[in-house]
Subunit: 114 residues, 2 copies
């Protein structure tokens, strides 16, 4: 699987490298309106919903929503928990804030603006 490839690195990624990967994953995940809406919907429901509850609130098909959920999961913006035949998706708001704040921090020194 994909994991094998990723764990096969000769040495671990540096903090900075990981951060760059995070920016890629998080900004890509957040670039689609439905994916942003999923996070907002999750927030409104206390941060945790099943796949079915999420799908109900959108117009796209279930497979399409599943893919969005996987993209959000891969970016670390949600995590999944299997409970019987249900999948519970759990918002990772802190992780999202951290990544976005660390991006913002790069730019926080600047005062060169109108």
């Amino acid at each position: 699987m994909l994991n094998i490839i990723m764990l096969n690195r000769p040495f671990p990624k540096s903090r900075a490298e990981t951060e760059l990967d995070d920016f890629e994953l998080v900004f890509s995940a957040l670039s689609h309106e439905d994916r942003r809406r999923i996070l907002v919907v999750l927030l409104g429901r206390g941060g945790q919903m099943t796949a079915g509850e999420i799908v109900q609130r959108f117009t796209s098909s279930w497979p399409t929503m599943t893919r969005h959920l996987h993209i959000l999961e891969h970016a670390g913006l949600i995590v999944v928990e299997k409970r019987g035949r249900e999948r519970h998706y759990i918002l990772q708001a802190k992780r999202m804030s951290k990544v976005l704040q660390s991006w913002n921090q790069y730019f926080s020194e600047v005062e060169n603006e109108s």
Copy 2:
């Protein structure tokens, strides 16, 4: 032009609507690595560079970079100033921070996490 269509609305957009548009524009703009790099490069040069200076630092062709610059401009992450035949692109770091922080604020109430 595009402006005519946009100004033809019967009433102005609400604050919330504008914010949603901002999320779309900003997260889409930041979803491409070269566009994020342009902002970082601009930052390293004091927040202002000509189109040519920016293009020099990337491997993509000038037209490709021009398009990236326009996407960043449309998102409000840079502004352009014409000076003779040069275009000076100016980083709008504050605007970027504001948009990302306002997104983060939606999620800042949550403490439901590991």
